[in-house]
């Protein structure tokens, strides 16, 4: 038997969806095999994950709560990845957003009413995340420094910086011994929907940000420029695209929306700045898969963000009920991501099996 592989020109939407679902399913099967090898009933474990996250009212509320940062960051990452700018630094862009918003909330908050302080915090958070996203963009376009490395290093730098703040100069006067800042004043806190932990305002911001970014990518000149930079930089140069300017704007937005996610986590969940892994449960990394599962369409990150929020919530649940370590969810994420990118092979190539004729 011979196998021939030919490039495939176009694929139908249906084939796209089928490949995506097939990859997800294959990923789940692989996760099941890992569970089986560990002596865990895979049907039970995977079932538990989905029941805990989508199967109950409380679970679904938690899923929505965790979907907010994932949608925001995923949409921003989709924008960057369109330009083949491998931003791995969303985790720290989120943190810087939270840091800037904390400063605004604590310094200006007490003297201002809610209608003034909340917009200021969002603005500050966007700027904080955006500026942190600018650094790797400048490094790449001006100095040819690989963005994967720079964004990663910036993740560690930001995490240590936040730790430094909360145990050092910003340590809360009312927080004896704990690595927290003081609580934000009441008017700087986002209200929850009923007894849930969902902030309706954050949900609206996340969904509209994803839709606006989708519009930006597909319907504006800026979006066109981003796609050209990613797909054919040579053509971009001929077309007179200003790489420096476009990359900077793109990364300011990508980092900025991650910063907004940081404001949301701070203002609606934690109410004070604390250790980095408390503020973000690895959202910056999970959002990489969110962007990928959403086919780098920022709008689709609404759906894929919801899906992975469910996996986080379900992962937490089986972690507690079955005594599994917190990193179990990484097995999920890693395997599903591997199968997602492997599945792209079928989208881009035709594979033919032929019996060898003797």
């Amino acid at each position: 038997m011979t196998v021939t592989i030919l490039p495939r020109e176009k694929t139908s939407a249906l084939f796209n969806v089928l490949t995506l679902l097939g990859s997800l399913l294959a990923g789940l099967v692989a996760v099941g095999i890992v569970f089986l090898l560990k002596g865990i009933n895979p049907f039970f474990a995977i079932g538990e994950i989905f029941i805990a996250s989508f199967g109950s009212a409380f679970g679904f509320q938690e899923t929505l709560t965790k979907a907010i940062p994932l949608i925001l960051i995923g949409a921003g990452l989709a924008l960057a990845y369109r330009a083949k700018f491998w931003n791995i630094g969303a985790e720290s862009q989120l943190l810087l957003g939270a840091v800037f918003a904390t400063w605004v909330g604590l310094k200006l908050g007490p003297g201002l009413p809610a209608w003034a302080i909340l917009p200021l915090m969002f603005l500050a958070g966007f700027i904080g995340g955006g500026l942190w996203g600018l650094i790797p963009a400048i490094f790449k376009v001006r100095f040819g420094i690989n963005e994967v490395i720079s964004t990663l290093m910036l993740n560690y730098i930001a995490a240590e910086f936040v730790k430094y703040l909360v145990v050092g100069p910003w340590k809360g006067e009312t927080k004896y011994g704990y690595p927290y800042t003081d609580d934000l004043p009441d008017q700087a806190i986002l209200q929850h929907l009923g007894s849930t932990r969902i902030s309706v305002l954050m949900l609206i911001i996340a969904v509209s940000a994803a839709l606006i970014l989708a519009f930006l990518v597909y319907r504006t000149r800026f979006g066109y420029e981003i796609r050209v930079i990613g797909e054919n930089p040579e053509a971009g140069r001929y077309a007179g695209i200003n790489f420096f300017r476009t990359s900077l704007i793109m990364m300011f937005i990508s980092g900025g929306v991650a910063g907004l996610a940081g404001v949301g986590e701070l203002s609606s969940i934690h109410h004070h700045l604390s250790y980095p892994d408390t503020i973000s449960a690895g959202y910056g990394f999970t959002a990489i898969i969110v962007a990928w599962l959403g086919r780098l369409n920022p709008g689709f990150s609404i759906l894929s963000g919801l899906f992975f929020a469910g996996i986080i919530v379900g992962g937490d649940a089986i972690q507690m009920s079955m005594g599994l370590p917190a990193t179990t969810v990484n097995v999920f994420n890693g395997l599903i991501l591997i199968f997602l990118i492997a599945g792209d092979f079928l989208l881009n190539h035709k594979v033919r099996f032929q019996r060898r004729v003797l």
Partner: protein, 308 residues
């Protein structure tokens, strides 16, 4: 004073050992044109495997072997996805890191907080170890140190002075030409990725069976990412990887030396990462540095056999 310097140097070498091992592996892989961002995951898996096998068998050498094999095996996933399926190397590497961290957490959980009874002990080389300063630094270390130096020299020799090195380089620089010379490009890439995985696995085992003698989740704590930065720092040359690994090993140690002086431990913990960025910036700002920083020509690109 001499004693303090000796102790700092000893610890520098110990901290540099896993970095050297990991960087050698990544240099091999990237020279063949495959960027593998999975080092953190492969190292973590190596650390867990090395610990578990040493714990159950009581033999740290078996732990070392198992970790090496585990690293090579998990890297096959990356090779298959990026070489055979031509998938995006950045994303595949990140997935590998997640998978490695997850698997090591899952399998290592029962071993958290259980100390090893037999760890890799330091070997004292007679006579040489009695030389002041240098003796303790270079001739009274754990076997991983001697192994990393020997393997490092071997990799340097193979890459620089043998046909193996030319083959690997040509696959990374110009796979089309390599293929016309009768080189099986895909096979070379697979082997180089696996070598990278094996080195990362070893590096991980060093952490859990020689450096400390316990397993905790996340014990690689960013060393895998430093390795990837070091590969650029070393400009893909094994000889420079030695310099880089020990410089960064030293930076790790300096944190602890400076801390008693009242400098925030968190700000000190930034040092390796700030230094990495600083070095890259230094290269990037000078013309010759920028040229040197250019990676193997086809790094990150999938190779399609018989194309054009």
């Amino acid at each position: 004073m001499l004693e303090i310097i000796t102790s700092i140097l000893v610890r520098t070498v110990v901290a540099g050992t896993p970095l050297l091992l990991g960087t050698m592996g990544e240099v091999i892989s990237e020279r063949a044109g495959i960027l593998n961002l999975g080092v953190e995951g492969m190292m973590s898996l190596g650390a867990a495997t090395g610990f578990i096998v040493t714990f159950t068998t009581g033999n740290p050498w078996l732990g070392l072997m198992a970790a090496t094999i585990a690293g090579a095996l998990i890297s096959v996933i990356h090779a298959f996805v990026t070489v055979s399926l031509r998938a995006n190397q950045v994303v595949s590497g990140l997935a590998l890191t997640m998978l490695g961290l997850g698997l090591s957490g899952l399998w290592g959980k029962p071993y958290i907080g259980r100390p090893l009874t037999t760890k890799m002990h330091a070997i004292k080389i007679p006579v040489l170890s009695d030389i002041p300063v240098i003796g303790k630094v270079l001739f009274y270390q754990d076997p991983y140190f001697y192994l990393s130096v020997a393997l490092g020299i071997l990799v340097w020799f193979l890459m620089k002075h043998t046909k193996v090195g030319i083959t690997v380089r040509s696959v990374g620089e110009n796979p089309k030409a390599a293929e016309t010379l009768g080189i099986n490009v895909a096979r070379v890439k697979y082997l180089c990725v696996m070598a990278g995985g094996a080195f990362a696995g070893m590096a991980g085992a060093h952490l859990s069976t020689a450096y400390s003698k316990s397993w905790i989740e996340g014990m690689t704590s960013g060393r895998g990412w430093i390795v990837i930065a070091l590969t650029i720092f070393a400009l893909w040359e094994p000889a420079r990887a030695f310099v880089g690994a020990y410089v960064f090993g030293g930076i790790f140690v300096i944190q602890y030396v400076l801390q008693p002086l009242g400098i925030s431990p968190n700000l000190l913990a930034m040092l390796p990462y700030v230094t990495t960025l600083g070095v890259l910036l230094f290269y990037g700002m000078s013309k010759s540095g920028k040229r040197k920083m250019s990676a193997p020509a086809t790094l990150g690109e999938p190779y399609i056999r018989g194309s054009r």
